[in-house]
């Protein structure tokens, strides 16, 4: 729709611009004539008048669009000088000695100045337009990149899941078929053993599904969750209640602050995080180890801790703990690491969606201490810190509108210095504060993308 209207609008705009330019030219010319008249009255020579009219030409070229007004102004200036200010007054006389040379030179200089000023202005405009276009393209690229990163995350997750699903399903299908087919020949103890395996694997699958469900709570667009005030200890208590059968035989210590701590969060998701950490501790710390769960306030954050005194982790293992599928993809004996599954990466996703932090402190034989923080104040939705690190591109600053121009001007200036020649001379000639804006049209096109590339790859 807008495209249909555009040509019409554009024409109207152009017409209006022309009218304004005409008025500007007339006004400038009148002022110049008046000044010249004053000078003439004070007995000045025609040299000063030539300068005044040349100045007018420069000003007109500068403030109007296109060559035409500057040239008109110069012609008018020459005619006016001849008509009004030289003998015979109020009449044209081109036959005076030397006048034809003076006036022709003046005409040529005026036209040149006009042409150069206009060209220069056009180039600056084109450069700004280019910069804006480039910024648009850049933003588009960023959007595409974010989508690609999301896709990558999704496919990593899917790979992790499909790998992790197959193993328990193998057990369930195999064990249940065995029991069904060999019921008559099998002794009771073996059957019980197989059924127990089925039950355990099914429980494992359930936790997996719950984790996946949890991730779907996170908004895909903003990677954020909807928070509501929750009492920290209630979330911990429910998570413990969820795993109480598995906790049998493990000494459990829970420490919550004396003051009630109300934390903005998605309660089910944080419960899931604690369940995952607790489950992880129970699985990897070894039988009979003791578990500690703590909650405290650290400045503006709530600090949760889930620790065990089990066999701990090597630094290498700790580094990849929170990555989807990283470990199983790189490790040839990936079946052995199935236990890590998607639980811990899901914790990280959830905590990040809450603008919190999660980390582990561990050493072999010294147990594991998992920590995570949740901000007590609901932060701004667009807090840059909240954005997942993959999506934040740190070097986008130079492309904000005002600084685009600045960067561009710097580039043009550098270009000018390199090229020297004509452009530098114009600058010298004009001395009108246009220092940074010269340079040939073609070269700008070339130099701009270069500049962008430099900005994008600071190395």
């Amino acid at each position: 729709m807008t495209e249909q209207h555009q040509p019409c609008k554009l024409r109207q705009k152009k017409l209006k611009m022309k009218r304004i330019d005409f008025l500007k030219t007339v006004l400038c010319f009148c002022i110049a004539t008046f000044l010249a008249y004053l000078l003439k009255r004070n007995g000045d020579t025609t040299d000063a008048m030539a300068v005044i009219f040349m100045l007018t030409v420069v000003i007109v070229s500068r403030i109007t669009d296109g060559y035409i007004w500057g040239i008109l102004a110069s012609l008018a200036g020459i005619l006016a000088t001849n008509y009004i200010f030289t003998y015979p007054y109020m009449d044209f006389n081109f036959s005076l000695t030397g006048y034809s040379v003076t006036f022709s030179a003046m005409l040529v200089i005026s036209i040149m100045i006009s042409a150069l000023t206009t060209q220069n202005k056009k180039q600056t405009e084109a450069a700004i337009e280019m910069a804006e276009k480039l910024q648009e393209t850049y933003e588009e690229q960023r959007a595409i990149e974010i989508v690609a990163q999301k896709e990558r995350l999704k496919s990593n997750l899917l790979r992790a899941i499909s790998h992790d699903l197959r193993t328990p399903l193998t057990t369930i299908i195999g064990a249940s078929a065995t029991v069904l087919e060999n019921r008559d020949t099998m002794d009771r103890k073996t059957a019980d053993y197989l059924i127990k395996d089925i039950n355990e694997e099914a429980q494992w699958l359930l936790r997996m599904v719950e984790n996946l469900l949890a991730v779907t709570h996170i908004s895909e667009d903003t990677m954020k969750v909807i928070k509501s005030p929750q009492v920290g200890e209630e979330i911990i208590a429910e998570a413990i209640d969820h795993l109480k059968i598995k906790l049998n035989g493990h000494p459990l210590t829970v420490k919550v602050p004396d003051e009630i701590l109300i934390i903005p969060m998605d309660g089910t998701l944080i419960e899931q995080v604690i369940i995952n950490l607790l489950d992880n501790a129970l699985k990897h710390a070894g039988p009979g180890c003791s578990i500690f769960i703590g909650l405290s306030q650290e400045n503006d954050n709530a600090l949760f801790e889930v620790s065990d005194n089990g066999k701990g982790l090597s630094q290498q293992a700790a580094a990849h703990l929170f990555e989807y599928g990283e470990k199983s993809a790189n490790d040839p004996s990936s079946d052995a690491t199935r236990g890590f599954g998607i639980g811990l990466p899901t914790c990280k996703t959830i905590i990040q969606a809450h603008s919190g932090r999660i980390w582990v402190e561990s050493a072999p034989d010294q147990g594991c201490r998992f920590f995570f923080t949740l901000p007590l104040e609901d932060p701004e939705e667009n807090d840059p810190q909240n954005a997942p690190p993959e999506t934040s591109i740190t070097n986008n600053a130079p492309f904000e509108n005002s600084s685009v121009k600045e960067a561009l001007q710097n580039s043009l200036h550098r270009h000018l210095l390199r090229e020297g020649g004509g452009a530098a001379r114009i600058e010298e000639l004009l001395r009108f504060g246009l220092k940074n804006r010269a340079g040939s049209h073609e070269n700008q096109h070339k130099s701009l993308p270069e500049e962008h590339q430099k900005k994008e790859n600071p190395s």
Binding site: V231, E234, A237, E238, V254, I260, I262, T268, I293
Partner: protein, 236 residues
């Protein structure tokens, strides 16, 4: 044979129906099953079961519609069976008159415990049990109604008026989930707003600090995140 407690299972998934009726039959209940809402309503009318296990996701009509129609004429205990992560659905069902809910998937012991609680509660209503009793006991927690005293492991606990009222409310509905709205309405007599929920939570945190050995791992009052609270039934 006729003295057996009758349980109606309303569930469209045959595998779930199968294992539920196996558990219940082997624990001495008489089981009738319905695979849809319309069938359930007609079976409730003709058989008058003692407990109804109602799945909310039915193929023909919404489970909540069945609940509504039952509540129009009967107070038969209804235990809603729901999928996890739908807190709103649970709260809605409880506020519409469901007695309890159980989350899929569940174990046999959990299912049996919920049924026992629901049955006990319905008997209490029939015999107006609470009025006659002077004392309430669960685990080491004792509420002495006549003297308005609360003791934990023989030690007296000092509660404020509101805290005492909340605790008595939980005792009256022991074993059952009480939604935030229900508690707020019973204690303060005002509809629930954000502020009143916060007020309730602060009160609950204070009660926990007074009656629980470890408020981070409570024994008596359990939290159902996003739904409400439940007092644990520790009588046996």
């Amino acid at each position: 044979m006729n003295n057996k407690t009758t349980v109606l299972i309303v569930e469209d998934e045959h595998a779930i129906r199968n294992f539920m009726s196996t558990i219940l039959t082997s624990n001495g209940y008489r089981v009738i099953v319905a695979t849809g809402g319309a069938e359930a309503i007609s079976l409730i009318g003709s058989h008058c079961p003692d407990v109804i296990l109602l799945d909310l996701g039915l193929p023909d009509i919404e489970g909540t519609e069945v609940l509504k129609s039952v509540r129009e004429w009967s107070s038969i205990p209804v235990i809603v069976v729901s999928a996890r992560t739908f807190e709103r659905e649970k709260v809605e069902a409880l506020d519409m008159g469901a007695d309890d809910y159980i989350t899929k998937p569940f174990g046999s012991s959990e299912l049996l415990a919920r049924i026992r609680t629901a049955l006990r509660h319905s008997h209490k209503i029939l015999t107006k049990d609470m009025g006659g009793k002077n004392e309430f006991v669960t685990g080491d927690l004792v509420i002495d109604f006549a003297n308005r005293r609360v003791k934990v492991a023989e030690k007296e606990v000092h509660l404020t008026q509101i805290e005492y009222k909340i605790l008595v409310l939980f005792a009256r509905y022991v074993g059952r989930v009480l939604t935030y709205d229900f508690i707020i309405n019973e204690i303060w007599g005002i509809p629930s707003e954000k502020n009143s929920q916060q007020l309730l939570r602060v009160n609950m945190a204070n009660i926990r600090r007074k009656i629980e050995e470890n408020p981070g791992n409570p024994k008596y009052i359990l939290t159902e995140v996003g739904v409400g609270y439940r007092m644990a039934d520790l009588e046996n």
